[in-house]
Symmetry: C2
Subunit: 483 residues, 2 copies
Amino acid sequence: MARPDFDILVVGGGSAGLTVSIAGRALGMRVAQVERYRMGGECLGTGCVPSKALLHAAALAHAAREAAEAGLVEADPAAPIDFGRAMAHVQAAIETIAPHDSAQAQGRRGIKVFDAHATLLGGGRVQVGAQTVTARHIVLCTGSRPRIPDVPGMDQLVYHTHETIFGLTHLPGQLAIIGGGPEGCELAQAFARLGSRVVLIQRNRRLLANDDEEASALIRTVLEREGVTVLTSALLKRVVPSDVHHARLLHVDVNGQEHTIEADAVLVAAGREPVVDGLGLDEAGVKVGPDGIVVDAYMRTTAPGIWACGDCVGPYRYTHAAETQGRQLVRNLLFPWKMRPIDLRGLPWATFTDPESAHVGLTEAAARSKYGKGAIRTVLLPLSEVDRAVCEGATDGFVKYTLRGQKLVGAQVVAPRAGELIQQLALLLHQRLPRHVLESAHVYPTYSYALHQANDRANYVRRSESRVWSFTLRVLRRFALGA
Amino acid sequence: MARPDFDILVVGGGSAGLTVSIAGRALGMRVAQVERYRMGGECLGTGCVPSKALLHAAALAHAAREAAEAGLVEADPAAPIDFGRAMAHVQAAIETIAPHDSAQAQGRRGIKVFDAHATLLGGGRVQVGAQTVTARHIVLCTGSRPRIPDVPGMDQLVYHTHETIFGLTHLPGQLAIIGGGPEGCELAQAFARLGSRVVLIQRNRRLLANDDEEASALIRTVLEREGVTVLTSALLKRVVPSDVHHARLLHVDVNGQEHTIEADAVLVAAGREPVVDGLGLDEAGVKVGPDGIVVDAYMRTTAPGIWACGDCVGPYRYTHAAETQGRQLVRNLLFPWKMRPIDLRGLPWATFTDPESAHVGLTEAAARSKYGKGAIRTVLLPLSEVDRAVCEGATDGFVKYTLRGQKLVGAQVVAPRAGELIQQLALLLHQRLPRHVLESAHVYPTYSYALHQANDRANYVRRSESRVWSFTLRVLRRFALGA
């Protein structure tokens, strides 16, 4: 066999593809990457980056209103907000970050980028646009796309997804959001703060269904307080596009009762589906399951020499999950005699509402069903007992530890900086450190100090319940103090 | 000898005293605490809590101005700020937190609190107000007070310290702050944002002299941009109180040139000195050094049965340092046959300006002088390359790692959430974890992701400089890829 054109050919230019191509290239491999649409993928152009930028603009407007309402600044709390400025900030953020992920930047790293569509031809050959390219390893990083609810009228409705919503030039007066996961909650808060009347329609009985129950309840309370109408256990039945004032009607079933929601814009944020069509996967022997491309623990597909990672695989569709998979994949590809399985057990995630909601490990419910109800206890420290939160008037939130005996098996944090706090707990779980390391010095008064406080509370609860501990203490006191 | 009245008598009701008394009591000991002024100490009443609350009010006012300036909200960027509201917020925060630290709360925990002055009488006896109390162990937690510069005119000047500044009812038009450490920098920013013209007078050649140089430079830039006049290498020569408009004149020598600063309020934030007077330390045989009460690694003073911790000891005068010492002290007191020395090597600290500046481990300069210039290298990741910071327009900042070989020996973070980020690095240093644990998944796009990015950069630099690595890679590629 002739020497292949490349060591690795990466299909897709999003987070997973960028990780694999850059890591592969850094390790000296000859790498090519195919992207038919836009480098940087969903995360940069239409996902994490624009949503965080919009949330920032909304937070700034919210702070201005808060300062006026509290009488701290002499201003009108109802002062108009310039939506165009908010959107300009979003575009500026994308444009600042884009060059890092561009084909030019990849070129400078020594990665050949094809602006084309890729189809697997089998035997290490890939149809890239008009040409055929050969590679020793093919890595599929084709990503995901929004899942569109299959209800009557949907095909006639003009709706937004994250792919188009950041192109809005006018603030929707009434915005209906279908889906109450991280994306739905974040954008509900952002648009409500910018002045839209928002209705959030969630199929599950609670928002943020992957987080602990308390987080779902609190984020709901916060959104409702900011004017968002939240419907849970709400099943979209049918939609009626309309030309009158561009209004749309959504018919939603909530516990058997039909609600009709009028909206002049609709955002679909109801989950994602893997992009697996038009790639020639079947012909190449790459099996696809309900969640996406089927891979083993080493990120190998069912076809030899073909790997996959990121959103087209799952189960977690996060940028950092894609990156973690991509890194392990490249290691496995380079050290085939010493492959290591991917371990996503300590993978944290966060929703960037204000307050943020972040999770790592098992939820309480998952822990109870895994280890038995009696084996699990939880500790909850409300932010009202955390001094920094009191100083900042930001006491909506908590730190919750789910413990199996003394061991931390999961944590949920809702706090203004929860996304940062969860990282220390993720390190603890990932490195299998004992919980008592949280007794080490935590800077006072940070939000992180709450992690330390909650740990003390867990110890205290344990001690006050333990007879062995009481007895040991009595002996100790007698010995040390003669008391 | 008769049974003493208490197992532990704690002198002082601040952070150190609260930690020792609560921990001692939780372990079943009979604990008394003497506080002559106010429970909660400096931290609650006049230190960390009010400064963080004032910074929050100032940040809110700043955000409102920023929103108006950017045209996001239709409002006047120069809208007046109500200083009374800001101060009301400060008092509310103190009042919310105070009950946790109160004599009543201590009483409910089973701790006897004396509202009195304490004097050591020797032999486990302490004069508490009018009575004599005996205790098996005495723990000195007397704290510290502001150090007042000894210059001509100072004794006639009416000036503020942190003990009085939060009682202000009117915003000073022109505020001079003596001291450019954490307290000086935080309050300079807070008052400038609330509308004062602030002059910050720092004796050292840079602000935040315990942090890395880059942090000093950046915090200076930020303060200057917000209108603060920063004088470094500035020696206060004399002060002239005046009655005309309540103005004060400060004569300052900057590199041999005399400057005259007019101010209608002066804040002294020029370091702290331990409270060691009037306690009968000499008579009881407790030695006092230039930094405070002399203790060994186990927190024992030079007199048997007398311990000390917190600000009256040093070297770090932080709430969380006092707490760390206090916890270790109680353990050592209860397990005298298994005492452990205090280890403050991984102790992080933070300055809560916006952006925050946080440090752990050695500074670059300290590392170079300890290990030799050539043994140390640094990696610096500017926040302009961190996506979340770009989304929030908060790119003033960086993550800096100081490395000895591959090992992290110190870190400096300047970022909006640096106080939280430093905690993960503190855990790493405290637990002596290898740096590569930072390769684990970090939620995207958090600020913590920058820690992960900076670690990648450190790896990349190492690889690109290493011939052994290049050779190993070449072999690996040949073996794995036949390339």
